[in-house]
Symmetry: T
Subunit: 143 residues, 12 copies
């Protein structure tokens, strides 16, 4: 099973950036642990701060992955183009957030990509990713 974790803007700075909101651990340190936890999954990881590069990436792997865990960062709230890209590809996309975005500023309460995704896991720290992978494993072959 092939899954992609796709990260949007500023998520390359996890562990360095606003640690009261995002914690002090770098995602690069967490990734190996995540791979160990799911040896049956071929887990890829891609991050970009560029809306266009994220769209390109969705197009490129959208016919190949069995699932995508997408934390679009701030683009969650401003990018209709990413929503269109998600609707354009067959791979199911799961919206992921580390922090509880609904408990932050009003502009973060609305997701422009949510209606194009299968669902979302929000506010559970790095566990949001782990649970998302678990979801794709349980549903392997059902789509």
């Amino acid at each position: 099973m092939k899954l992609l974790i796709l990260h949007g803007p500023n998520l390359n700075l996890l562990g360095l950036r606003q640690p009261d909101i995002y914690g002090i651990r770098r995602f690069e340190d967490y990734l190996p642990e995540l791979k160990n936890a799911f040896p049956e999954v071929e887990l890829e990881y891609f991050q970009s701060n560029h809306e266009g590069v994220l769209i390109d990436q969705l197009h490129q792997i959208g016919w190949e992955m069995q699932g995508i865990l997408f934390n679009a960062g701030a683009y969650t709230h401003t990018s209709l183009a990413l929503a269109d890209a998600i609707s354009a590809i067959p791979a199911p996309v799961l919206e992921i957030h580390i922090s509880n975005v609904q408990a932050r500023e009003p502009i973060r309460h609305h997701s422009m990509i949510a209606s194009a995704c299968v669902g979302s896991i929000t506010g559970l720290g790095f566990d949001s990713y782990r649970l998302g992978i678990q979801y794709f494993i349980w549903n392997q072959g059902t789509r």
Copy 2:
């Protein structure tokens, strides 16, 4: 570990109600399967169509449970009193939705209880519950 699944209005009709949105399986049939999957958890279940009864229940078990999985149904979008009840108790509450509420009518895009919860799992069918229990197990003792 003691966890509660708390169900709000109309969720007693799962399996009977709008099957195109909620599926055709009754929650009562799913619950034993869920209990089997997590033998280490003492899993309780409570449903009410009454906002007040749900508040009473949160008050009553809020000092006793290690976690609450709360699908508040339509009250998610209209009840400030439930949000206050969640804020009032020490047990962590996880917001759960079977359907992808952000892809439905606008009134379902905003959650009044989200900011009082630790996070949310939305749109993943009955798996939303299973992932939520998994989350509480992984985080047992960390709060």
Copy 3:
């Protein structure tokens, strides 16, 4: 033919409450007259000030009644949960109002339950009920 008249909050005070808006006659005094006018109908009546009890009631008789005349009072304008309950059951529900709600304060201009109902009769005093029953009789067996 079995029909239910379902009354929401404060409608137990008809005749006592704001007579300039709702008139001075008690609904209990009108009900026998209504039953006499339609001897072929088994007409039940239920009132509650509790949103949850109204939902319970809809669930309980939703597979049994041929039609429901629902004056939800103030819940008309605030309860998404009642709208969901109406959508969940097979019985057709007709929205009823004694006063012309669209001619009152702005908050009463929008009905949250209207889109789940078959239609509405508004502002015609107690005749709103009588016409509603007539409607169900004319359409008996067509749904």
Copy 4:
């Protein structure tokens, strides 16, 4: 007793227009049936696609009719001038809709004429008219 059924824009195309919303029966075919059902009523019928003609008509028969059943079509939602015309005349006007306008696009959820009418019957197909006539008969002489 003299009553008028007044029809606004596009209602001359009933039976031809969007049959999934308005049904396949022409109003001209229904009218004789309606007249037969109420032999005691002198029932007139008038349709126009012109806002101004509808106002003229209200002015002309507003002192002569005992009641008016007014389906203003799309003008329901945009015409303050029709609301003023209704307020200007002594005849009671009942707002009528064939479809459940509150379950359609948001612009159809608000009626500009409602506050000038005695009440409304909405969503009950051609029965909306029949019930409305019944209402005027029951209340003959009470205004």
Copy 5:
């Protein structure tokens, strides 16, 4: 000097309609008095309940009148087409209201035609017309 008093919908019923707002005098009775007061003015009068007829009229006399006193009634608040017609013609148009529209319902607080007019006289009863004629006399030849 040629001036036109142009009246929109329902203003043919002045004196008959909502006398608490518009008074009990018919405009037809007031017009001769107005003509007597300004013998130097060739004063024409035109009323229609039809938005289209009002536009036609503005087009027809727009190159011929030295001024137009326009009480557009309810169309004041809903007709962009009338605003366009006023902008299209060279004759200066003065917006007139008998009642103080800003002290009535919110929908009457905004005028769609105001920005196309030279100014407005509001709330001064039939004197609004008399003052408007006075204005055009004082400014004769200055445009």
Copy 6:
């Protein structure tokens, strides 16, 4: 003189709940002190988390009490049905808040019940109740 203190949702947890907002004292401990301060008043106390039970209670004692001090908690901001219940009964109702609701989240800035009450005392801690009782004593017999 008979007065009722009526408490809405979550107010049973005063002293336990969010002490930075509501303080650390339980209302049950304060009540005897309040009764001592006003020996001439027959002071009753009722709390419920159920909107419907609060409505029932208002109906039941609305013809019997000389005044009601109503802290409706979160229902203050969402319940039109409670506002209707207050309007339906003859007893004067005083809106009470312990915290300064206007200094909290925007949803707490608007009260749905305020216009049905005689007035409000807000933000003065438990003194809000004591002052409210004082008000009813001063005005005894004047209504």
Copy 7:
């Protein structure tokens, strides 16, 4: 007959200020002409840039003048206190504007004082004042 022309902020600069909007004539030069035109009127004039001074002035002459022509300048759109002052006094107040405020920026489209005034004359340059005085003369003794 005693009338007051009351001028709000920045109107002392008429003739100097934004001449494309307000013209190049100073009001002080126009005032004698106005007095000459109405020898039967005792015409007073008062200007202040201070909201409070304008309120004081309304209070002071509100029981003495037969009419007030009030151009409140920018306070028209922001001062509820001036609206209250107008409502508090018996003298009728006429709202006056030199420019067509409805054709300028959106914030100038709404008048906070309009509903407290008897009416308004807008956009007719200095003639707005002359017409206003004429109005009060015509209606002398009718209030």
Copy 8:
């Protein structure tokens, strides 16, 4: 092939009206040129300032024309009744504007008829019509 150019309010004044926006050429002068350019098309032309007449016209030729080029003028932004008329007929309707309406006042940014049309051509002067006819020719027989 039969096509209709349908013109709404004030478009009879093209060439005379606001030439900075609409140009100085009369549509009557352009029409023969247009007919010459497409000899294979039977091109009809109809203009009215009356909303109702435009609806009548759509009804009358809606089953006969292969296409309609509709410049609804100001009614574009205010007429739901015209949108309903377009939805009611089988002929495809193309929305046409001479000026770039999205670059003008905000009220002209939203089209009420757009969702009922097949598409729109905006801002290209009289070429908007010529391109529209071209479109219908290219698509002849495909609907």
Copy 9:
């Protein structure tokens, strides 16, 4: 104990102004009674119609008074500068209203100064002041 009653615009006209809202008693007549009721309080009184004078006054006595009862009249709803002045001084300020502002026009439903005050007493006539003084006495020395 030194307390100030601070009055904003138009409150100098109490007893003369809109008696249906504010009553017929002048505040000057009530003040001695209030002083008699609280002989232990050095009670000062200050009124101004000037926003700036009210700010000056708050600055001047803000380090000297033990409490301020502030009825800001219409400035309650429009003055951010008064809110800033209240935040700038150490004396606790209590918002006072004679009428039930939440039951009046929408613009009076929101207080701009509320979040800077300790709380508010609203709608209780002159008793609002008396209760406010009582509050400060009970809390003397606790701040």
Copy 10:
């Protein structure tokens, strides 16, 4: 004559993406046909999913092309930077849409780039491009 077709995000997937909205033909297959139809035009084509690359492209060819047909995809509704880029260059830009965006979700009803473009052609499938080229040919040399 040199023209550019500029394509924004996700338009590289035409034919693959949501065929019910965009059809099943790839744009690459249509392009040669388009070039054949207009042999006199040097037609260039450029697509990017990157907002920044689209801006760069506009800057680079903005002084060189006689016209640009710009289908900005989802950026139409969110990119002020693209609107600024269009305003910055001398080449006329025509807004193009394949689908009828005004008949889709509300966020697609407003174009942020429209006011910077000369006009728009919307909803006519691939013919939108063909008509746009025709427009530029007809107007060659007129700008």
Copy 11:
């Protein structure tokens, strides 16, 4: 060169008021330092809590100063009259704020005077003034 620093409401309390926002230094202590830094400038200083006095001051020195540094405090967000005063005078006005108003409450995000000023310097503490003076020196003689 003559420059004025103009201070609006509550800025007389700098150093005493909300030191976490505005710092602990009094402006009176900073002013000599500022004068020393720019010996070539004749620097005047004026503060008032009165909107009207600020307008008077702008009128009085508006033809005399080469530049005005205006920190309007809370009036920035509520005073259209001050914006009009700035537009009325020839002296260039620079908007100044000590704190970063855009990072505070929403009501402070919008400036009513900004569009009448040449520009603004915000959030840089007392340096905002020093930079503003520097700006006027660099641009001396260019206006």
Copy 12:
């Protein structure tokens, strides 16, 4: 001291683009002059039309620069991702605008990045940069 001037979309066209708004001087011509004025500063310059490249750049130099002068162009008003990037880095960022954005279209009145910056300098042409550098020099070592 190391400072960066960071330029967003379309700012590479300064001098070429809309000269009535941005002037006719190219920034490249101004930069040497700026460097000469501050020989003690190591001044870097970077421009990109790509939101993602700007974020990358902020990440890359965010731990190295003592200050950043950021004119984000149109992204100022649409990019939450840039705001997040500014919050993520330790270097202080100063928002810069050449034109007075608050005096332009409404969409330019709100800055999404302002709350993440230390302050802003707006509308002062190229002097905005020079003053910003001055600010960083004055505050060197204080952060």
